[in-house]
Symmetry: C2
Subunit: 433 residues, 2 copies
């Protein structure tokens, strides 16, 4: 390595353009921090003629991946092209050519992170992906370095900006899911095909990555149970408000005695919980460590420059390692084995909304049903609906095992007086008395 | 350096005990991360006989500082004794003996940080102080590493747990300052002599440290303008609530075109601002970067184990540097010169509460007074107080220079109709329409 570090970019969308902008604007600071020049040498694009949002000399652009992956002068490859198979192939080629790789590609890291990390280490290369989780928030570095001597026991995250935006609008303006989604699409906070966001898949990928680093155990993407926000009804947000809760799509991961619970689901979060105030497209990750207690990292989850900032923090870390001759020293082996918790081992509070016949003894039979499973109630609301001669009943349970709660749901559905179980959600945190 | 790294502790209070506890509990993880054993070898204490909150062999304790500072086997000195002059003397001795130093001592770092950093670098030693600001929150690392390629423009912090606890109680329970302070003292959130906390000095020290690292400029402790919370009246919290603001003791630092504004003052913060929800003894630091936009780091500002966690993250960083042979490479020179902004260059919104005669034309004369200085009103409240024939008037201004606002205050005091200007506070953020 000479006095220059050269970066090759795979892709030149909004994030790639942001990287180029930051490298240009921070030349002086980079030289001071690193003692060397940093420059973008070539950029793989699909179309040489396309108009770009960033000023870049045409001569840097190429449609041939080898111009990036096999140029011996390029030290660090920044993958911002997205997608999975081709991105993986290029990254493996980069490692084979002894290049360090920085990526923002959560889909890829969630699926192939451990494999890529392993190949990187074998080639003495760095593999960093801070930008893959919660864009501009330096959360992975916070967990790995900042809380290095702690044992992280629980991570809860609002890690998808699209769904948080939609839920915020539903909550504050009383919009239906469909209307809120449409608004989000018009404003560019949701894609034309929002499936990966609204079904919770995007959040699940980030939780898998967070879980691995937080607990030092091998979390597979398929370990993450997922349910999205598409069926959330405004009634449940309203009842939540009455009871002191805010509906959020929460990524939850808990590791306890090598037993793992990890999922993404709409959750009624106590208004006392720091995550309940995270609004609009913002992201936040709440970490509970044995020693440190609760900390939270908050910031933009996406966007060109926030994501580029995270990428550049990785590029700088990789350059520091190059200069120190310690590249590829990241941890590869997981400290702990994991087993997934069974429903018997998972505990939580739950919210249930149901419609029952509005007649004497109905509530008592529902109450007995929960009692028989040792589930006690924390809050109960009952609204008679005179026109239809039905009653809408909302209960919030105390802590119970998921197994018992699932049995309660089954039994409710069999109870003659119960017309319909409309919805149920996990509840997190306590509300003020 | 062999296969062991030995730590010497200066002081064995709650934080020192926490460090010993973490080192013991995390032996396996430390070996894995670092490839070496980490052990506490000696601990300087004042009294060998005192009962300790942590199990430690008496033979490790010493009352002779040389047993820590001149033991060639000790690689890293952790200073948790507090105080200034003696701590500085010991740390300088440690650097002279080529030992790395980790400290939680904000008073010392605020006053002598640049000097100590310089001596450390000259001796190729590391000097880390993550624990000196906001206890368990990895904020310094977040700024230095996570946002390395960004230009930080503004930092706002709730960096003193005692005052935040007191203000939270005043705000949520309507307690007076004196009652809230007394409660905080009983619960151990405030010291018997709370001066350094309630007068804002503790927060000022942390802001000086944050300002240096955020802006890469030489912030002196005396650059930080300070006012504390002792004169806050419950009326102002109540009016704040009516208007959509929460009173917080805010450390504010802004760096713009090499012009610095830095201060600690009670501030009425819009309820839309993420900092407004930080309650009780918790700390949070809100960072505004040119590229990343807004991020916030939240967590416990103090406490034995959170602070020890931050210390251990520094110890681990220092050990990594030792093993890589790159100790003492931290930045010493500041990138930017600074001049302090004059009142003419400082802008803000302001809240003023005053009592005036309840007669025709009074409000108009006050209004003219502000108009003449080009200050316009954002909100106005006026409550007649019939018994006393006076009116209480509260105004919130739009952005104005501090110079003009100070002139307005002077002119108000001279206005015959104004009986008393009761209070005025800076206002941050916008409230929903």
């Amino acid at each position: 390595m000479g006095n220059n570090v050269s970066i090759g970019l795979l892709g030149l969308g909004v994030v790639g353009s942001g990287v180029i902008k930051l490298v240009e604007e921070h030349q002086e600071k980079l030289i001071h921090q690193l003692g060397c020049d940093v420059q973008v040498k070539s950029v793989l694009v699909r179309d040489l003629e396309k108009t770009r949002g960033v000023a870049i000399d045409q001569s840097f652009l190429t449609t041939n991946p080898d111009d990036v992956l096999n140029d011996p002068e390029i030290d660090i490859v920044v993958e911002v092209m997205g997608g999975i198979d081709l991105a993986r192939e290029y990254i493996l080629k980069a490692f084979a050519a002894k290049k360090h790789v920085v990526t923002a590609n959560k889909d890829l890291v969630a699926l192939y992170g451990p494999e890529l990390q392993e190949v990187a280490s074998r080639n003495k290369c760095d593999f960093y992906y801070e930008a893959s989780v919660a864009g501009g928030i330096p959360i992975l570095r916070g967990i790995v370095d900042g809380l290095a001597s702690d044992r992280i026991q629980q991570v809860m995250g609002i890690v998808n900006g699209t769904t948080n935006y939609i839920l915020t609008k539903m909550n504050t303006e009383g919009l239906s899911y469909d209307t809120a989604l449409k608004q989000a699409q018009e404003l560019g906070f949701a894609e034309a095909d929002p499936t990966a966001d609204v079904e919770g898949l995007d959040a699940a990928r980030k939780m898998a990555i967070l879980g691995r680093l937080s607990f030092s155990t091998d979390v597979d993407l398929e370990d993450v149970e997922v349910s999205g926000i598409t069926n959330i009804e405004i009634e449940d947000l309203e009842y939540g408000k009455q009871l002191g809760y805010t509906m959020k799509l929460i990524g939850f991961a808990n590791f306890d005695n090598q037993q793992l619970e990890i999922n993404v689901q709409p959750t009624l979060l106590s208004n006392n919980h720091p995550l309940s105030d995270v609004k609009n497209e913002y992201n936040a990750v709440y970490v509970y460590g044995k020693a440190v207690g609760e900390t939270m990292f908050y910031g933009p989850g996406a966007g060109s420059l926030p994501t580029a900032t995270a990428i550049m923090s990785d590029v700088i870390a990789a350059i520091k390692n190059m200069r120190l001759g310690v590249s590829g020293n990241q941890f590869v082996e997981y400290h702990f084995k994991k087993v997934l918790k069974t429903p018997e081992q998972r505990f939580g509070q739950y919210y249930v909304r149901l419609h029952a016949k509005d007649e004497v003894g109905v509530f008592s039979s529902i109450s007995t049903l929960f009692n028989d499973l040792n589930i006690s109630f924390k809050r109960i609301l009952q609204n008679p609906n005179k026109k239809a001669e039905t009653a809408e009943i909302v209960v919030v349970t105390h802590q119970t095992s998921l197994e018992n709660f699932q049995k309660a749901l089954e039994n409710l559905n069999e109870l003659q007086a119960v017309l319909e179980v409309n919805s149920y959600y996990k509840v997190e945190g306590d509300v003020a008395k």
